[in-house]
Subunit: 160 residues, 6 copies
């Protein structure tokens, strides 16, 4: 059972309610999943995570919607996230995944998890031909920053 | 070696340059780490991840800066992320972590990774007293959405 | 450095040599990657893993070749397998992946790893609507097996 | 609940039925576990995974049957696979594991998970004496392949 | 359900009973969690793990009690240990964690899991300035050991 | 490179020196691995982790020394701990592991990592026959504790 109460629309603070509204509008649905209701216990987190999910998974991009779900699922299966496997299998099915594609996905995920351990177990070095070689130059700060730093004089830059 | 070229300030597209500027201003430094230069190979990703990092790790909040770094480190050590361990140990040291605190952190991380496997290996059930019990009510959509759905008639809501 | 010597064609035992031949023929290349040369230290493993890789990743199926590589990569990145990330980024690029798609892949993998932990950290329960409900019936052994078991009399079935 | 229906013997397609028959014959049992019934939703996967399991875990080899199960369990506990922990503890008990050995296994698994994080958290470098040093020579393709490549002329070898 | 019987006080062997007594005394409680009752199936493991938990998590040290629990939780969430997440959220709440801090913790854990994969997915190299440079000298054994080794003559040192 | 300086015998504080002495005596060697020299940066951690390692891995027990190393390795490979894989392959070879056994180990580890994901990806439920059923009774505190609690009156027991 969730470690916080699942917030309902009627009791949500305005910031959370606005996110719930956007979720329903984006999905053209009057349902909001449990995960969003749990995140509403900390509204800034709800807002940030929904924004990210919407921009990365919903907004059209180079990869088609089902492929995105398959990649999301591959990670969720590898990490054994029960909630995520269940909700994203539903999402992938809604985007065209059938039992045969689920079977292919599961087999590639299993094979990759196996292959990863063979490479690790034997500590195999990357083949020379797979190594990328860029003429990476060290970071060169823009003049304006250098000037600013100079003006700041002895003040030591903080690193974060 | 990174799988994309590390972008420098002078060659960055405007969207990436704006993020580089904000990183330097936020940190009051004229240096930009390799991770941001790699992410600049896909500017929308650079923008989103930096925004998140700034809001979660830099903006003042309930947890103090060093504690945040310790939590970030605990995850990075558990996942064995060499880049992250190196950069966030530097960040944590800048916020007050010394060898004794690093020692405590490493021991708690090791202990938790051990304790996790004892609970898993014996498949121990959660104690009744640790289970949270909320009077969770099922999701109740707001009236406006229900009306919208009704108007949409037979059109089936898409779930995403 | 690999924990076994990387076997060369000239010194490989016949079983390993046959696999090397099939790898080169399948890929129409005269090069064999380090991973296969390491696995050749235990020929039965080499034979089985190559057969699997060929049937799952090379043989045409419902998922297109680049999508398969993206799924394989999503797993390898989640597990931080340096060898696999390097070799399968090369493979994915050969099948059409460019920097923008790599950017999308990395962002979905990052997002899924984040989302997985939010669902875990709050211990969110699966929504009723995502639960699958099949009329699963218990296993019913075929008559022939039952007969065989009956003939075997008191001999207890071994479970493996 | 499983994300596909658990196939029963009577409804299984011939390819799946043949695997079910082999599972029962190999184990001298008329029972087939849930995992195989789930994999039967994609028969090629069922066939390949059972073949592998049989060759690696059932066929006699250098490691004795209980040790194999302990290694399988160590992985399953580290990955927190509930299904696998339950079924392979049953298998290991059938091969001689008692509570004391389970206790030893769980403690080594916990200790290794802890020790792994100490080495990672401090980023300890491998001792010179543990590094393997083989006179690894670069891959040298057999003459026949070179000839074939030469005949193919300008046709560039594809890497897979 | 646990894979061993949960031992009760009345039936515990003396070694386990002494640990139960110490747990109750240390926590000033007459309750012993399920994990300790499961570990009691192998008393040496129970004794060692409790001793460690007490010295690392209970004994006062540089990090305050709530911070220690947050670090323990960050690991448990990353590893998806249901038992540990439930019991240590209870422990953290008892030490002052509220919903807002739990929200911050979950967001940092999610962010770190994401950031880890971006660094891995792009295989970003550690910045020169984050690399630690110690004048590490090779191990120099004390004279007494050298003498002992010399006396032992040809007897080869065993490495463990 | 390690994130702390590797402590040498001559400069170690007495607590660390005593552990170094015990490591060398236990292993009958005048060499101390890098991991112990790194842990010496926080002597209490060094003492506790060495004690555990000695009691669990060195002290004779039901499992033979090579099997213990194989279990330790299975975990280290699954977690991709470079330091641990290198040092424990050396340890396992010293206890009898050859290339064929390493091959078997790596294949079982790969197979288990694959099998784990098939069970997770399909969310297969544990077979009824693999579920353990113990007549677990709730915790019953000893009379002496109950009396103590009664005497403490309103003082609330702290849970840790």
């Amino acid at each position: 059972m969730a470690k916080v109460r699942l917030i309902n629309y009627g009791e949500a603070p305005p910031a959370a309610r606005a996110v719930f509204d956007d979720i329903m509008a984006t999905r053209d649905s009057d349902y909001v999943n449990n995960i969003w209701r749990a995140l509403a216990s900390h509204p800034p987190l709800l807002g940030r995570f929904w924004k990210l999910m919407k921009e990365v998974m919903v907004r059209p991009s180079r990869l088609d919607p089902m492929t995105k779900e398959l990649v999301y699922l591959a990670v969720s299966i590898t990490n054994n996230c029960e909630y995520c496997i269940n909700s994203h299998i539903a999402a992938a099915r809604a985007k065209g995944m059938d039992d045969a594609i689920l079977g292919e996905l599961n087999e590639i995920v299993a094979l990759a998890n196996a292959g990863n351990r063979l490479a690790m177990g034997y500590q195999v070095e990357v083949d020379e031909r797979f190594k990328t070689r860029f003429a990476d130059k060290p970071w060169k700060a823009p003049r304006k920053m250098k000037k600013r730093k100079a003006q700041a004089g002895g003040r030591r830059a903080k690193r974060g």
